[in-house]
C-alpha cells in the first residue's frame, strides 16, 4: 500500500461552491478520469420542539480525526481503483443551507468512484470524532445525533 501522510480535511466554516468548482476544475488535466462522484452535506433547518435550527457548530478531536481519516483513505484506496479522493469537513459554525461536508472521488470508470464515495460518507459519519451542536433560533442548542 502506498504511504500517504495524513492530510488536513478540516476547513473553518462553510465549504463554498467556488471551492467545490475549483476542486472539480483541477481535475481537467487528469484525462484518465471518466467519472467523478461527489457528496455534499448541507445543514438542514430542522425544527426542534417548535424552534428552527439556524446553524450547526462543529468541533472535533482533530488530531485523532485526521489519523482516522488517513486510515479510512488508505483502506478505500486499496479497495477501489480510484484516481483521486478528496474529503473536506467544516469546523465551527455552518449556517442552514450551507455545505459542511464535501466528499469527492474520481476513477476511470464510474462504478469505483460512486461506490467509494458512498463508503467514505458512511465511514466519515460513523468513525470520525466530530460533533455537531445544532444552534436554534433562540440561541439555545442541542447536540446532533447521527441517524
Amino acid at each position: 500500500m502506498k504511504e500517504r501522510t495524513p492530510k488536513n480535511i478540516f476547513v473553518q466554516g462553510a465549504i463554498s461552491s467556488a471551492f467545490i468548482a475549483d476542486s472539480i476544475q483541477k481535475h481537467s488535466t487528469k484525462t484518465d478520469i471518466g467519472g467523478h462522484s461527489i457528496f455534499l452535506g448541507q445543514v438542514r433547518a430542522d425544527e426542534i420542539e417548535g424552534k428552527k435550527v439556524v446553524a450547526i457548530e462543529y468541533t472535533a478531536y482533530e488530531e485523532m480525526a485526521l489519523q482516522k481519516m488517513h486510515e479510512i483513505r488508505e483502506t478505500v484506496f486499496a479497495e477501489y481503483p480510484l484516481t483521486c479522493m478528496h474529503v473536506y469537513h467544516s469546523l465551527g459554525k455552518v449556517a442552514a443551507g450551507e455545505i459542511c461536508l464535501f466528499v469527492f472521488t474520481s476513477s476511470a470508470h464510474r462504478k469505483a468512484a460512486t461506490e467509494a464515495c458512498s463508503v467514505l460518507v458512511e465511514r466519515i459519519k460513523a468513525e470520525l470524532p466530530v460533533w455537531g451542536a445544532e444552534i436554534l433560533e433562540d440561541e439555545t442548542h442541542q447536540w446532533k445525533v447521527n441517524q
Binding site: 459519519k125 447536540w143 447521527n146
Partner: protein, 75 residues
C-alpha cells in the same frame, strides 16, 4: 495525565481538559470521574487512549492522553 472531553461532555464537565495524576487504570479513572461528575455516569461515551479507541479496562500511565467522546455526529 491529560483527560480530554468533547461535544456535550465539555458542557457537562465545564472544561475541555483536566489534568489528573496517578490513575492506575481506566476503571479507576472512570470511577473517579463519575463521582466528581455524576451526570457523566449517565452519559454515553467511548474512550480513546492516545487516540486509540478502547472498550475494556486498561492500565494507564501519566504520559497517556485519555479522551472521553460522546457518540460522533459529524457530516
Amino acid at each position: 495525565m491529560k483527560i480530554l472531553f468533547f461535544g456535550q461532555l465539555v458542557e457537562m464537565i465545564g472544561a475541555k481538559e483536566l489534568l489528573i495524576e496517578d490513575m492506575t487504570d481506566i476503571d479507576t479513572l472512570k470511577a473517579f470521574l463519575h463521582q466528581q461528575f455524576p451526570l457523566l455516569a449517565q452519559s454515553k461515551y467511548i474512550i480513546a487512549v492516545d487516540q486509540e479507541m478502547i472498550s475494556d479496562n486498561r492500565k494507564l500511565e501519566n504520559h497517556n492522553i485519555v479522551a472521553l467522546m460522546p457518540p460522533f455526529s459529524g457530516g
